[in-house]
């Protein structure tokens, strides 16, 4: 069997006396989508932030299969290496596009930032790639010089995705990417995400409290409660035949139209 892209071993994080998440382990293979579900305060975002380097966990290892040096513990990397990784092979899609975009920089500049960050110094090339990516996330090319402030919520979220994917990352962290969007926009975004994930063979860790989103996108699922992973398995298996009492409650509380 091939090596996993991401191997998480015993991640724990405490906020003073309170538990953020405790002893979470899982592995993620290239091209695989992992859904992390659970109620508010269950430690989903803490886990995601620990994995992506935004937070330093108290214990545990986050092993990433780097292009050049094989499996490396990203927590032991130098800050400069980790930041370079998060600009190239990793991406982070925030729930609120305001957190992931530069609101006072044009759409083209937003997409081009990562390219310039890794040393691209040819305006024409940057512009061409920005146009290309706007097309791929279904934003009209004539909006390339408009600021995200003039974009709708759905467009902003798609722009954030384009900005993150332009350097061809292999692993994306998503924190509630469809939160705050209305149903039809959400459906379009999910469609887009699904095709991008398949096309670019992306590995994704997606945090959501929306089981429908998990069902659509995720291959595997992990259910969290009070900072612990209480159940994990194939998405359909977990949703159709939940074992843990809390998972049964969670699946049972989804509203039917």
């Amino acid at each position: 069997m091939t090596l996993p892209l991401l191997d998480v071993l015993g991640i724990a994080k405490k906020y003073g006396g309170r538990t953020g998440c405790s002893d979470v382990s899982f592995a993620l293979w290239p091209g695989e989508v992992m859904g992390v579900v659970g109620e508010s305060g269950s430690g989903k975002s803490t886990l995601l932030n620990c994995l992506s380097g935004n937070l330093v966990p108290d214990t545990g290892e986050v092993l990433f299969n780097t292009r050049c040096e094989g499996m490396r513990d990203t927590l032991k990397m130098s800050e400069s290496e980790r930041r370079r990784l998060s600009r190239t092979d990793w991406a982070f899609v925030h729930q609120n596009p305001r957190d992931g975009l530069r609101m006072n920089v044009s759409a083209g500049g937003n997409i081009g930032e990562r390219l310039m960050g890794v040393g691209e110094r040819h305006y024409g090339n940057i512009r061409r790639q920005a146009m290309d990516w706007l097309g791929r996330v279904e934003i009209p090319e004539n909006r390339v010089d408009d600021r995200p402030a003039t974009f709708s919520g759905g467009m902003r979220q798609r722009l954030q995705i384009a900005r993150n994917l332009v350097t061809g990352p292999r692993l994306i962290f998503m924190d509630e990417p469809t939160g705050g969007l209305d149903a039809s926009v959400q459906a379009r975004l999910l469609d887009l995400l699904r095709s991008l994930v398949r096309e670019m063979e992306l590995a994704v860790v997606i945090v959501t409290h929306d089981l429908a989103v998990a069902r659509l996108l995720a291959d595997r699922m992990m259910v969290m409660k009070d900072g612990c992973a209480i159940e994990s398995g194939l998405t359909d298996q977990v949703l159709d035949d939940p074992q843990h009492a809390y998972t049964q409650l969670l699946v049972g509380s989804v509203l039917q139209v």
Binding site: R102, E113, G117, H122, Y123, V144, D145
Partner: protein
């Protein structure tokens, strides 16, 4: 004279500033924090430059002060008088005769020589400030040499104006390492920064000093397909006829007629008085 210590500041303060200057010279382009003092002039009038000059001056020095290239503007005159009064040093308007030159927003046209010191007044020392408001983050970006964001600014310029529209405080990279704000000099002056004189930069309100030793490599940022262009008004000076100097556009009467004249008054006068090219 006896009411003031030499050059206004007390010796301990000058010592502290000199240490910051030496550190700045050792790490060209790096912003060294220093304990900026209150000076008897408002922030924005060159409190940083004045403190650096005060720490640099010796009784044997000859001081020149320019503001936008001119020796005779309010800012230049008040700072020059300040040091006449507190340090009793020789002052001059001639670039070639000065050993210390404090400047606001220009580099003299006359090429500076070894042994001279050019002191810049800096309002905002952080070139990334308007792109990244957090000082913690910008310091980290300097430490890790993450300067992609500066090119985002230049990208925005080209996408909006068709060319890099930044015409002053044009960002430079020093010795292939630190990104530096050259203070609000016109980009026309950027190529002159690789010079024989020592260049010191003082930002009083922001409490930062940085420096360039002589002959330091200073490169203006650009794109491969939009190279750096120093730019210059397409005129000759209407007083001295110079075609290679930086020009001010001056409105001369109520009918809105304009003329272009050298912004460096010493350079212009020297040429008018027949002292040859560059006011030697």
């Amino acid at each position: 004279m006896s009411e003031y210590n030499f050059a206004y500041l007390d010796e301990q303060t000058k010592r502290m500033i000199r240490r910051a200057i030496l550190k700045g010279l050792a790490v060209p382009g790096y912003q060294v924090p220093f304990a900026s003092r209150e000076m008897p002039m408002p922030y924005g009038w060159g409190t940083g430059g004045v403190q650096v000059s005060a720490a640099t001056l010796t009784p044997e020095d000859t001081l020149k002060v320019i503001d936008q290239g001119a020796d005779d503007t309010t800012n230049a005159i008040s700072i020059r008088r300040f040091f006449q009064k507190t340090a009793d040093v020789e002052v001059t308007e001639r670039t070639t005769e000065a050993s210390v030159i404090q400047t606001r927003h220009r580099i003299p046209e006359t090429e500076l020589k070894e042994g001279q010191i050019l002191v810049y007044q800096v309002p905002i020392p952080e070139p990334l400030r308007f792109l990244e408001p957090s000082e913690v983050e910008t310091r980290k970006m300097h430490a890790l040499e993450e300067y992609g964001l500066m090119h985002v600014k230049l990208y925005e310029d080209i996408s909006i104006h068709g060319a890099i529209a930044t015409s002053y405080a044009y960002p430079v990279k020093v010795e292939g390492r630190y990104l530096m704000d050259p203070s609000p000099i016109p980009k026309f002056d950027n190529p002159k920064m690789e010079m024989a004189a020592i260049q010191l930069f003082g930002a009083g309100r922001e409490q930062r000093i940085y420096a360039l030793p002589p002959y330091t490599r200073v490169v203006s940022l650009d794109f491969e397909d939009h190279p750096f262009d120093p730019g210059r008004a397409d005129h000759a000076c209407e007083l001295c006829g110079a075609e290679n100097s930086y020009l001010d556009e001056v409105i001369v009467n109520d009918r809105g007629e304009r003329m272009f004249v050298c912004s460096d008054t010493d350079f212009c006068e020297s040429r008018l008085n027949g002292n040859g090219e560059g006011g030697a």
